[in-house]
Amino acid sequence: MTWSEEDIIKAVTENFKELVTESKVLKPKRISITVKPDGLVSVATFLRDSLGFDHPLGAGAIDYPAENKMQMVYYLWSVSKRTIVMLKADTPRDNPKLPTLSGVWDQMNLHEREAWEMFGIVFEGHPKLERLLLPEDWEEGVYPLRKDYKLPER
């Protein structure tokens, strides 16, 4: 039976009533679900196992200094449902902390390392939180993709 976007949202909101803060259909075949940080792992495993979202496309973070929050977005796709889910999780900007999803999708391990070195989001339970793209001698504490890091003008 073909799952429409609303069925997927209904399935997720029923099982995790209090964890899902907001979920809407952006465009046909594209859903955005925002989850509280502590419910992230359970929703993710639910998405992967019962709803079949087992093809990870990537993950990245967005910095909102205005609302003093950082949002981590996981892009997932399912072969059977042919729709894309943007699983989002917010954390406060001063000390961003999120549970790691590398247990659910192994590839997120690399994306989370990149988010850590670019934004400073600490992922608890991450096996190897190290530099990925930046050079080894990049000084600690400086996170280039944050809004307050100014690019040196040429």
């Binding site: 465009k27 594209r30 093809h55 892009y75 072969v79 943007m86 930046l134």
Partner: protein, 367 residues
């Protein structure tokens, strides 16, 4: 961490290596069998996502194409479509057809590059490596005639394309395509059925269908393992809805299958360009777009030659994007390569053939 088993040594199949390109794999091997491939990203990290936040939309296309310059049209299209999706800009029909033509020229260009390198990775100095370079010249001339540049076209802008099709382009394109089809026959005879190439690539680097999906392979590496996912069929963006073409899918999932997928896709691309040239609609090729776009969030998925590139753009009402997140196909392909030794047996001599069958583009992975 040095694995404790005796006799395992770590070799850096590194940036300074004839076949590795600007990337380093740390191989844990005992001289023959490769037990672990550890990718070392970051040699060509330019921070393009940060640069884009300092450039207006039209200016941002130039650095964005540097992500995978060999396939500049498809990559540029991903950024432009993400902006158009965020600001709900409608692109005129004729612009969609011109975009499709340039995207397919860029795809053939990139696949020829990949096939040449995959052939050379197998060893020696085969003639096909030089033939692909010679035949790419014709497609570079076509792109030069249409856009004015051979590689970094920066031809797409939000709302359409920068210039119309010059007269005489159609005849030249058809002549080049008929020449190219005859050349593809020469490639098939001399390489695809080449007995020694088959022994070097059949059954090597096998990636099963579930692993391809679970690990997140992209593009020809995914379709090589039997997964039917091609963004041009999925989203039917630009003019791909009105053009009929087959999706190249192979079942075996080994190096030969990925190579064959790229080869069949080139044949499909020539058919796409011909159909797009035949029924090219009249009308404007560009829609004026204000420099400042309203607040919004856009997402685009484009099938580049290396796989599906997803761009997530967030606009904040100014003329510069607030945040651009790129999910690069080569990033996922490199990840799949690092997981391969756990799935199949790989020898040191297989590493180049396997790596170049995924056709990674390291600049794309490092962003």
């Amino acid at each position: 961490m040095m694995s404790e088993t005796k006799g395992i040594m770590r070799i850096s199949w590194g940036p300074q290596h004839p076949m590795s390109g600007q990337f380093r794999f740390i191989l844990e091997t005992d001289g023959e069998n490769v037990y672990e491939i550890i990718p070392d990203f970051g040699f060509t990290h330019r921070g393009i996502e940060k640069i884009l936040e300092y450039r207006t939309f039209v200016q941002g296309i130039v650095p964005f194409e540097r992500l995978a310059m060999v396939d500049a049209a498809n990559v540029g299209l991903a950024y432009v479509r993400a902006i158009e999706d965020a600001a709900n800009i409608e692109v005129p029909k004729r612009a969609q057809y011109i975009r499709t033509i340039l995207c397919e020229i860029s795809r053939i260009n990139s696949h020829l590059y990949a096939i040449g390198l995959a052939a050379e990775a197998a060893g020696g100095y085969p003639a096909i490596f030089l033939w692909t370079t010679a035949d790419r010249e014709l497609f570079l001339d076509l792109a030069e005639m249409l856009t004015g540049a051979r590689w970094s076209y920066s031809f797409f802008i939000p709302g359409g394309v920068r210039a119309d099709i010059p007269e005489g382009f159609k005849e030249k394109a058809l002549k080049v395509l008929s020449y190219f089809e005859k050349r593809l026959i020469a490639y098939r005879d001399s390489w695809l059925e080449n007995e020694i190439w088959l022994t070097r690539s059949k059954g090597i680097g096998k990636l099963s269908t579930e692993d391809a999906i679970k690990l997140g392979a992209a593009g020809p590496s995914l379709r090589g393992s039997g997964v039917e996912l091609d963004m041009r069929k999925e989203d039917k963006y630009e003019a791909y809805g009105e053009i009929d073409f087959r999706m190249a899918v192979q079942k075996e999932g080994d190096c030969q299958a990925r190579f064959m997928v790229r080869f069949l896709e080139m044949i499909e691309s020539t058919r796409i360009i011909k159909q797009a040239l035949e029924n090219m609609p009249p009308g404007p090729f560009k829609k004026p777009v204000p420099p400042k776009l309203p607040k919004g969030e856009g997402f685009a998925r484009v099938e580049t030659a290396r796989g599906e590139m997803d761009v997530h753009v967030i606009l904040d009402g100014s003329d510069k994007p607030y945040r651009v997140k790129v999910c690069a196909p080569s990033f996922r392909n490199l990840y799949v390569i690092s997981k391969l030794p756990k799935l199949t047996k790989i020898l040191v001599a297989d590493v180049p053939v396997v790596v170049w069958s995924f056709d990674p583009w390291y600049l794309d992975a490092d962003r």
